[in-house]
Amino acid sequence: MNAVLGLEDGTIIKGTGFGAEGIVSGELVFTTQYTGYEEALTDPSYKGQILMFTYPLIGNYGVSGNCMESDAVKAEGLVVREACPKPSHHLGKKTIYQLMEEEGKPGIAGVDTRMLTIKTREHGTMRAALINGSDDGEEAVRIARAQKSISDIDFISQVSCPEPFKLESPSRDPYNPLNVVLVDCGRKLSIERSLLARGMDVTVVPGNSSISTIESYDPDLLFISNGPGDPLQAQNAISAVKHFTGELPIVGICLGHQIMSLALGAETYKLKFGHRGANQPVKDLETGIVHITSQNHGFAVDGNSFEEAEVEVTQYNTNDKTVEGIAHKYLDMFSVQYHPDAHPGPQDTENLFFSKVLKLAGGKK
């Protein structure tokens, strides 16, 4: 099947379509990880984005269904050099073709993905449209250009859970149960898996939950999740953080980190082309160790913009010196830009981060 990808700068790339027929649009972003396509595609942070892998072979080990980071494929479309039609893996249940088909999302293969990566690197992230079932490049470019900027769209409401619900940790201490309220701005399931694995119960609440809703669950700790889009769209969560600052321990990951920073008076900005991959180096200023982290973000926190002197930058990216972690000097608040929850990507910081969360929540460790 013919497929075509159009970019806002007029670039037209023709290729072979797979997955569902149809037209999608969004920002074209690239990730440099070579495993973890099932996790990445289902990561809600990719909502509103067409995901391109720099690694040329995608789908080699099939799709197991066990590695989903949400209930569905959240990326708008998939761009690859080659998609594997006949995968081989002991857990593989279907092919990447079947996944995209079932999820109603289009894909395009046969693309010089390195060329598009270089274009993105040089030009900055571009709006794009992918049409599966047509080779009308002009049309794709027109759709790419017609769409709104990602900063003008509220994605959180599209990916957040509709109603609150509670998950009990199988290893919870019945005499001292801990309850983490996880504000779902487009959470990856790995976050709650890591919390549950450490004995914490998790109450997931929608991203637009009111302060009283959050209070009604009597949280030991407030956790702001990752999610798609511009953090300035998350005004509700920002207000929640402001409200609970000083009252509850608060932690955040990725978009959650940006939301907390905004609540603490900092500014955020859009990166030229973001950080997406499993090899981002983050220096922990406390220990001096550089950790390799999994990342997926297009916005970042301006480290010099914190109004209050109470907040310090605790970690930064050694590639481009961007802020990777902050902590409040006096209050129990910290957040990281990367994904210690991994999936996909390195687990190097998983224990470091989540055992700290457990401590803040009041656990014994």
């Binding site: 040329p56 080990y61 002991h90 857990l91 990566t117 180096p281 390799i292 390195p346």
Partner: protein, 1074 residues
């Protein structure tokens, strides 16, 4: 953490000669480390016994010692140089072993030398199999069940406990040497005995087999700050049971999901932290369905780390050296981006395939089965955007006759060869898929993941499609593009479609299907990179961006193999340096991941590509260089001279020329008949010779010349299939078994000059003058391949007249062949006559040895000559070889210990894998050092077993007298003892081997023999000799198989008894000459 300020001077230990299990990778890592340390302002002292390395170039370090890698020798260097620190992890297993011994002997402490980087305990905990197992278990990591043992009885007892088959892994050996897989009790005992001998600490690990599990490797780095990064992972195609050095390997892993990949990655980091390794480290895993075992940890740079460096662009050795002097990963700049620090993980956007290169073309009788011990001599790497492309590029980089579809096997053979891993299995798999085997069947028989088998099948399906379109007339441009993207050459497409290569080439260029070049940049294009490191593919965007500077392309030499070793890489690197010094842009095309030439900062542009006509032409087409040089990369690149010239002529749109000796003149030198003609024209003496195109003609010529004669096919590399035949029966056997004679494949018959002294000359010619680098006298007589013979500079026995003739011949031949650049000439002296055996107008394997012995950078001089600077302009007005005060001996390394079953005999077919150099003020000491470096320790006390053929008896007497005068006891059979007693010499008598025990083999087993001197006898008693020599190899007893070497050894022993000379660096020797 900034670099330590208590370290000013560092000792680096190299890895010694090229051998099976250790190729050029340590020259690459050692050279990187030298550069890296000098960059930080440190003084570097280097010791290595291998002259054919870039790292031993006098300008690489402040003092370069070409000395034996042995504790005493290294101690003398330490005592003289007094370094503050030593880095162990750069010189491979050899470096680690020497360092361990230096520490155990208290030498590091005595001279206050700090061990930098990975510490001794880490080395011990990873190398000692029992400690390794305990450490792993203490952190909850699973290893295969096993036990370290040091007696055969213990091994036998383990059969019940662990079950057969069992894996035997000796402690502290390289390339799995001495190890293996035992399927029976007998095999277990045999391999264990061999393994115990090989192990430095007399220990082997007997391990339960995880045969059939997949094998993965992780290259990890750690700094003193505890930052850990994974450079890349690799997936072995062959399941466990085949040494990773013997397996086809792809990077990155293809069949692991993220969960599994992160599981192994996390384990790798936990392990490197537990051992406290600082620098690079290689960790091997066996994995199956989400479960895994730790197989091995190598706390040092390795062959795999060289591969990982080339596969990702991340300079592991360079960074390891900086970590060793205290720097943290985030303080070291990523050379590739020049902006980001080294504290990140590379990611790649292509597929890398590595295939080993095996020496079975040289050892036709050796067992081709692949096991846990290495047999390959080198490897190739290829990069592509698809697995198919990457694999096909790797296969054609191998430079072997075998290709997909060239061989046929019966169905039974196919089935058997699919089950048993051999060097041919990839081709057998192809054959099977073409002949009705299903992908499932091939996968289950080989144990190779079906994912890879399907990729191979894709190649076959593409071939079918191409063939089909070819039948119907012509191949469409669309399919042509697809075939190119799959990795097909024009030649293959032509073959499938019944067209000529030229037709296809023209068609695709007209259709705009031309190769594009992508960059290897460590980061999948996330950041702009500065590294000029490229691979070809057929994509939309090309990143090569040719400059408008003047440029020259140099062809490399491909994989390390017997007959074409690291020496040619050395020459390539020197040529590149000369070109860059002249302000011209130098581009390298090569495919060997182990070498310095494929380091991205060696050249202005590196094209990691196969060395075939098409791949080279594609680069030329893209870059439009002024010239291409073919004489530095050995036979591989020389063979491309004529085809390249023809193609350049055909393509009149390209202005590139082949510089240096013209392809026509190269052809004259290569073509025996044309060469003989030209030599006789200028009155040069040659052995009587003839050129036979049929059996009858061969017999007629041999009879005319008189037996023995030397026979070989024309156009050969490293004396392939060359033999001395003694009579007509022998000649008939040769033509029946070894080489079929036909008009297309003629053979050459030369008079064999029995007892002649062979002479090698390396020279540079500019068309007017000839600069002689050195005249080398071979120690073994003519008949032993020059690449296998030890030799000495200056000559020890040649008269003034002979040397003058040699010089005269050299000049005449170089001029007659219109040589522009390097020429190597082999001659022989018998009586007062000098004969010319062959001339090769290209770099030779002795160039680095000569350059180091006499202090002349011959390859650079040659490159400058080629660029138009005459010898006179370069200041080489006296064209005789430089006069030297010191003596340099080259000795070779033979691979017999790695190839069970092969008879360790020298002959006209080259068998050695590498070389060492011994330098001292006199011949005896230099010879002694060379032997020591070649792992052939000449005894100064103890018993020597002597057994020689009748013609060697005069020499025997000389040897025996000298040994006795040096206080050595002699051993021999009754015949030898009788002969010596006639001359008043006493000898202990032992039984002949076929007379039963106790004989010399039993004594060798009990460590009672210090040296075996055994020269091959006539056919009848050959059996005994062969068993003795094989036993010497298996029991690690030094041995000598020619009388000339025995005489040299006896002299050396006598000299060494008088004491050792002063230890001097190469820099000092060269200074003394000036």
């Amino acid at each position: 953490m900034p670099k330590r300020d208590d370290i000013k001077k560092i000792l680096l230990i190299g890895s010694g000669p090229i051998m099976i299990g250790q190729a050029a990778e340590f020259d690459f890592s050692g050279s990187q480390a030298c550069k890296s340390l000098k960059e930080e302002g440190l003084e570097v002292v280097l010791v290595n016994s291998n002259p054919a390395t870039i790292m031993t170039d006098p300008e690489m370090a402040d003092a370069v010692y070409i000395e034996p890698l042995e504790v005493k020798a290294v101690e003398r260097i330490i005592a003289k140089e007094r370094p503050d620190g030593l880095i162990a992890g750069i010189g491979g297993q050899t470096g680690l072993n020497i360092t361990s011994e230096l520490a155990e002997h208290g030498i590091l402490e005595k001279y206050n030398v700090k061990l930098l980087g990975t510490n001794l305990e880490a080395i011990k905990n990873t190398e000692d199999r029992e400690l390794f197992k305990q450490t792993m278990e203490s952190i909850g990591e699973k290893v295969p069940r096993s036990k370290a043992i040091s007696t055969l009885k213990e091994a036998e007892e383990l059969i019940d406990e662990l079950g057969l088959p069992l894996i035997i892994r000796p402690a502290y050996t390289l390339g799995g040497a001495g190890g293996g897989i035992a399927h029976t009790k007998e095999e277990l005992l045999e391999i264990t005995e061999r393994g115990l001998r090989r192990s430095r600490i007399n220990q082997v690990l007997i391990e339960e087999s995880v045969l059939g599990w997949k094998e993965f490797e992780y290259e990890v780095m750690r700094d003193a700050n505890d930052t850990c990064i994974v450079i890349c992972n690799m997936e072995n195609l062959d399941p466990m049971g085949v040494h990773t050095g013997e397996s086809i390997v792809v990077t990155p892993s293809q069949t692991l999901n993220d969960e599994e990949h992160q599981m192994l990655r996390t384990a790798a980091i936990k392990i490197i932290r537990t051992f406290g390794i600082e620098g690079g480290c290689n960790i091997q895993f066996a994995a199956k369905d989400g479960d895994y075992r730790i197989v091995e940890v190598n706390p040092r740079v390795s062959r795999s780390s060289a591969l990982a460096s080339k596969a990702t662009g991340y300079p592991i050795a360079k960074v390891t050296a900086k970590i060793a002097i205290g720097m943290a990963l985030d303080e070291i700049l990523n050379d590739v981006t020049k902006k980001t620090p080294a504290s990140f993980e590379p990611t790649i956007d292509y597929i890398v395939t590595k295939i080993p290169r095996w020496p079975f073309d040289k050892f036709v009788n050796a067992d081709k089965t692949l096991t846990t011990a290495m047999k390959s001599t080198g490897e190739v790497m290829a990069i592509g955007r698809t697995i198919e492309e990457s694999l096909l590029k790797a296969v054609r980089s191998l430079d072997i006759k075998m290709n997909f579809g060239t061989e046929e096997w019966s169905e039974n053979e196919t089935r058997m060869l699919l089950k048993t891993p051999t060097s041919e299995r990839l081709f057998v798999m192809y054959h099977a898929l073409c002949n009705g085997f299903s992908v499932e069947e091939v996968s289950s028989l080989t144990g190779i993941d079906i994912f890879f088998i399907r990729k191979l099948k894709n190649i076959i399906d593409m071939e079918d499609m191409v063939r089909e379109e070819g039948f119907s007339g012509a191949i469409s441009d669309d399919l042509l593009r697809e075939a190119k993207q799959t990795g097909f050459t024009d030649a293959r497409i032509a073959e499938l479609t019944g067209k000529t290569r030229e037709d296809i080439n023209d068609q695709r260029r007209a259709a705009g299907i031309i190769s594009t070049y992508k960059m290897v940049d460590t980061c999948a294009a996330e950041f702009a990179a500065e590294t000029p490191y490229y691979y070809s593919c057929y994509e939309q965007m090309c990143e090569a961006n040719p400059s408008d500077r003047k440029k020259i392309v140099i062809l490399g030499s491909g994989p390390i193999r017997i007959g074409q070793g690291i020496e040619f890489d050395y020459c390539t690197v020197h040529a590149v340096a000369a070109i860059r010094e002249a302000g011209i842009e130098a581009h390298i095309i090569n495919n060997n991941p182990e070498t310095v030439s494929t380091d991205y900062d060696t050249s202005d542009k590196l094209f990691f590509e196969p060395l075939t006509l098409e791949d080279v032409m594609n680069v030329i087409e893209k870059e439009n260089p002024g010239a291409v040089l073919v004489q530095f990369g050995g036979q591989t690149s020389v063979n491309l001279a004529l085809p390249l010239e023809r193609e350049l002529k055909r393509r009149n749109d390209l202005k590139t020329v082949i510089l240096g000796t013209s392809p026509e003149d190269i052809d004259v030198a290569e073509d025996r008949e044309k060469f003989n003609l030209r030599m006789s024209k200028i009155g040069i003496n040659q052995p009587d010779a003839g050129y036979a195109t049929s059996q009858d003609q061969a017999i007629e010529i041999a009879t005319r010349i008189g037996y023995p004669v030397l026979v070989r096919p024309s156009y050969v590399l490293g004396g392939r299939a060359m033999e001395i035949v003694y009579d007509q029966n022998d000649l008939e056997r040769y033509m029946r078994e070894a080489v079929k004679v036909s008009p297309e494949h003629p053979i050459l018959i030369d008079d064999f000059l029995e007892g002649a002294v062979e002479i090698d000359v390396d020279a540079v010619c500019d068309g007017k003058d000839v600069l002689i680098g050195a005249i080398m006298e071979h120690i073994e007589e003519a008949g032993v391949h020059s690449g296998d013979s030890a030799c000495v500079i200056p000559p020890q026995s040649l008269s003034y007249e002979v040397l003058e003739t040699v010089r005269d011949y050299t000049r005449k031949i170089a001029l007659a062949l219109n040589v522009k650049g390097l020429v190597n000439i082999q001659m022989a002296q018998k009586g007062d006559k000098v004969y010319v055996l062959e001339a090769n107008p290209r770099s030779s394997r002795t160039i680095p040895f000569v350059s180091k012995a006499v202090g002349l950078p011959l390859a650079k001089i040659a490159a400058r000559v080629i660029m138009g600077e005459t010898l006179e302009e370069q200041g080489y007005s006296t064209c005789d070889e430089p006069k030297v005060k010191h003596v340099s001996v080259k000795e070779v390394l033979l691979p017999f210990d790695k190839l069970p079953g092969a008879d360790p005999l020298l002959g006209p077919e080259m068998k050695s894998t590498g070389e060492v150099m011994g330098v001292d003020s006199d011949y005896g000491r230099a010879f002694f050092k060379a032997q020591l470096s070649a792992d052939n320790l000449l005894p100064l006390t103890g018993k020597v077993f002597l057994s020689v053929k009748e013609e060697d008896q005069d020499g025997l007497l000389d040897v025996a007298q000298k040994l006795v005068s040096a206080g050595i006891e002699l051993l021999g059979t009754k015949g030898t003892a009788d002969f010596l007693s006639e001359h008043g010499l006493e000898m202990g008598i032992v039984r002949k081997v076929h007379d039963g025990s106790p004989n010399v083999i039993d004594m060798m087993r009990r460590y009672e023999v210090a040296l075996v001197i055994n020269t091959p006898e006539d056919k009848l008693s050959r059996e005994d000799g062969s068993r003795i020599r094989r036993a010497a190899v298996d029991f690690k007893v030094p041995y000598i198989t020619t009388i000339q070497a025995a005489i040299a050894a006896a002299n050396a022993i006598v000299t060494m008894k008088q004491g050792e000379g002063e230890v001097k660096s190469i820099n000092e020797y060269h200074k003394e000459m000036a």
